[in-house]
Amino acid sequence: MHIVDRRLNPGSKSLENRQRFLRRAKALVQGAVKKSSQDRDIKDVLEGGEVTIPLDGMDEPRFRREGGTRDMVLPGNKKFVEGDWLQRPNQSGAKGSGAGEGDSEDAFRFVLSREEFVDLFLDDLELPDLAKRKLAQTESEGIQRAGYATSGSPANISISRTVSRALARRVALRRPRKDEIEALEEELAACEDETRRAELLALLEALRAKAKRIPFIDPIDIRYRRFETVPKPVAQAVMFCLMDVSGSMSEHMKDLAKRFYMLLYVFLKRRYKHVEIVFIRHTDRAEEVDEDTFFHGPASGGTLVSSALVAMNDIVRTRFRPADWNIYAAQASDGDNMTSDSGLTGHLLTDKILPVCQFFAYLEVGEAANYTFDMPDSSLWTLYERLRNDGAPLSMRKVSERGEIFPVFQDLFKRRTTSQERV
């Protein structure tokens, strides 16, 4: 008999097959990724995770027979006798349970790694080029402490760690302590009795030999500080999501906004190691809320855009020093604002917000298949347009369909790079 330990060469055979499968199922998986990112929170999008794809989308057909008369032998007869007639399973009932079972067979869930997930997510959106360029610009190598090692350069010896290990070893091996030996020596000096002396001498000899065998510091005690190079993000980023939640904002509009924020988040996450998100929703007054409330919380009331800007400005002042943070903001609104608010809004934007922001996008969301965009521009749009014409670095777009989100996103970022060059 021959025993082989295969655990040692894991060389997963399935990896290549799995990749082939993903490649082949790409369209399906991408659809699934898109769908699953719809139902998720912004931060979860990056986590990868389970997607469900239909099994028959990847079918491998075989000649299969069905119908006809069937004969079957079954176990577990309880009460039937020959010649009995059994009710056929109720047609509709059978269908129902059949469909239930079929479901679990026809579709299956599987887990995508984070990388696979984001790649598929972004690939669909054709973002990678953009992301890569940004990534290359901002990452740099840094050095970070990474525990201790048993080998290294003498300059990196960690004395405290070495000494404490030596101590532990000495205690464990019962190395005679110095005062123990000294005590014996004193006793020996004072001792008169010959037999006792010999005894003490032998004891002392043994202790000294032991102390020699177990050195104070042994090479195995020595620990070196270990360093690791890590990609170091140039800085951290904070992303402000400003949304108008007044009654006129429908679920569809919020969904559009959410998708935009999601993209922005994924994008920033690739660029910065640390990304914070601040959700600010406003009616005629603004408040900072969590994601769930932001997108789903009921709120209604008038509209005062400046309130959100004030809130953002306060948060920046108190928590995110512009010197340390890259600040991004995206504002989503249906464009309605009180005319009397225009002056304040313009002032806040140009004097307070825009100077500290890397990027400020205004997203005007509309109903699907709605013709509002043929109508005159909204009050907010008109205002922002004017500011932009005066030279403010504002990015603005109108969106009414889900499919437009990505092109708009890409467009905005293209503009941003040119304006960056200009600024």
């Binding site: 008999m1 021959h2 025993i3 082989v4 330990d5 295969r6 655990r7 894991p10 997963s12 055979k13 399935s14 290549e16 097959n17 799995r18 990749q19 082939r20 499968f21 993903l22 490649r23 082949r24 199922a25 099994l55 990847m58 079918d59 491998e60 057909p61 075989r62 000649f63 299969r64 027979r65 069905e66 119908g67 006809g68 008369t69 069937r70 004969d71 079957m72 032998v73 079954l74 176990p75 577990g76 007869n77 309880k78 039937f80 006798v81 020959e82 010649g83 009995d84 007639w85 059994l86 009710q87 056929r88 299956f108 869930r109 599987f110 887990v111």
Partner: protein
């Protein structure tokens, strides 16, 4: 080797020495008491993930790359993670040496069970059953798979992954119709196959001369002289091995595509006996592990605790849910096979009068191991059940036979039950469920219209009115047409040659054969 009575291990932990000890102890019982004759054993310890891996490439240690195995893996991994499916304790490969995979998570008791089950039970069955002897080449399979893997990878480099994938997809779709059901002139010799493939390739390369391309085509001789009968004889028609037919006669396949089809065909043929001997194979292995484990316990080499742990797994494995149980999904081959083996043991040792009537040849014969070995060698599921399912067992399982005729408005008829009148009919029907000739659709290549549009004509002879599923059939025929490069027609006929349905499928524009 320790003397009997010495414990094989304590507790649940094991190491390689333990495995060796376990193996030796099992071998003692297997060879001396059961008289088993096995291939040399190779035991491989793997992780759960590797077990999943092995599952998804039909249990083989090396297999070519294909997306469908990735799909299998994703599917199985998902159900494993969800807890829908436990992993099998073992996978065993019909090769010489016989390879058994053991999962590292198993306890020492489980490893003993697996070694007894796979390394002796299955191993003996593989080596001695006539179907495996006839159809599989245990010495050659691993080398052949290695060759197949390398060959397919080389094809991908040369001809592009997609082209290779299309050919393989098409071949896979026809895999179940790529076996010879009846032994032909020779047994499979995979090593020679592999050598010949290499020679064919070399020959092609050596005789390739670009000049021949420029020679004008000579007008073909008149085909009128070729009678239809003669032509069909030349083509070896009718032919039920569709893959074989394609490999030999498809007009526009490249040589490497023929080789791929050949590989898929050989692999299908290699697995063909496994499908026909599920009940027997699992029954044998389960019976063998049960005997070995009980013996080891008797000898005091397993503690009572270990033995109880074994009994629990064993009971789970041979559990047969009844037909109205939610867990029911047909007969459990372990349960049926094991029950039949034990039943045969009973008949040989302590037969009742009924058994003497039914099994005059073996009842009371006394030599349990000899009788079983002889059965293991010479039967497959269908003949085994037809021969050895006893009335006692039919009663124990409370088997009954249902006849469902869609035309019958009264419902489903209980045709026979476990009583005097029913035994033979229940047994015959159950055996028939395991008859491959009956389970697979009977599809044959009938003819090729060589004078006309080269249409390939197939026929499906229906049994008991069961026709082919239309969607799937169209898809399979599409694959077939792509390989054949011309139209493919399939006719479904009933027993009296009445045509029930006709399919005609044309090859796709970007056919497999470029």
């Amino acid at each position: 080797m320790g003397s009997s009575g010495e414990r094989l291990f304590e507790g649940a932990d094991w190491d390689f020495q333990t495995l060796q000890r376990i193996h030796d102890a099992c071998e003692q019982v297997a060879r001396k008491e059961l008289g088993l004759d096995v291939y040399p054993n190779q035991i491989e310890v793997i992780t759960a993930e590797q077990m999943l891996d092995a599952y998804s490439s039909v249990g083989m240690p090396l297999f070519y790359k294909h997306w469908s195995f990735g799909k299998q893996f994703a599917f199985q991994e998902a159900s494993y993670r969800k807890g829908l499916m436990g992993l099998a304790y073992e996978i065993v490969i019909n090769s010489s040496p016989c390879i058994s995979y053991l999962m590292e998570e198993n306890t020492a008791t489980m490893q003993t069970l697996v070694i007894a089950h796979a390394a002796f039970g299955h191993n003996h069955f593989f080596k001695n059953n006539y179907l495996f002897k006839q159809w599989t080449d245990a010495d050659g399979i691993l080398d052949y798979l290695e060759f197949a893997k390398g060959y397919i990878a080389a094809c991908e480099d040369r001809h592009g992954r997609e082209t290779v994938e299309r050919t393989l997809d098409a071949a896979h779709a026809l895999m179940s119709h790529g076996v010879d059901r009846y032994p032909g002139k020779k047994t499979l010799d995979l090593r020679a196959e592999e050598k010949r493939a290499g020679e064919r390739r070399q020959h092609e390369e050596s005789v390739f001369n670009d000049l021949w391309r420029t020679v004008p085509n000579i007008k073909a001789k008149s085909k009128a002289t070729l009678t239809a009968e003669r032509r069909r004889a030349l083509l070896g028609l009718p032919q039920e091995n569709i893959l074989y037919f394609l490999e030999k006669t498809a007009p526009r396949l490249a040589p490497w595509q023929r080789e791929l089809i050949r590989i898929v065909r050989h692999i299908a043929q290699y697995f063909y006996p496994q499908g026909q001997t599920k009940v027997m194979n699992e029954g044998t292995a389960t019976y063998v592990h049960y005997r070995i484990m009980s013996r080891l316990h008797q000898q005091g080499r397993l503690t009572d605790g270990n033995f109880l742990e074994f009994l629990q797994s064993h009971t789970n494995v041979v559990f047969q849910p009844e037909f109205d149980d939610r867990r029911y999904s047909g007969f459990n081959p372990y349960a049926l096979g094991f029950a039949m083996m034990q039943d045969i043991e009973r008949i040989v040792k302590n037969p009742e009068d009924e058994d003497r009537d039914w099994f005059p040849d073996i009842a009371g014969k006394g030599d349990v191991e000899g009788v079983l070995r002889e059965i293991w060698s010479n039967y497959r599921d269908e003949s085994f059940i037809n021969q050895f399912l006893s009335p006692a067992l039919i009663r124990r399982f409370r088997m009954f036979h249902l006849h469902d005729d869609p035309a019958e408005s009264q419902g489903i008829k209980v045709d026979a039950i476990h009583d005097e009148r029913g035994y033979r009919r229940v047994r015959r029907e159950l055996a028939r469920q395991y008859d491959v000739g009956f389970v697979d659709a009977n599809i044959e290549v009938m003819d090729v219209d060589l004078d006309g549009d080269r249409r390939l004509m197939l026929r499906h002879t229906t049994v008991k009115g069961a026709q082919l599923n239309e969607t799937d059939t169209r898809r399979v025929l599409q694959h077939l047409a792509d390989l054949w490069s011309y139209d493919v027609a399939l006719t479904e006929v009933d027993g009296t040659d009445k045509v029930l349905k006709e399919y005609v499928v044309s090859p796709r524009a970007a056919a497999v054969a470029a």
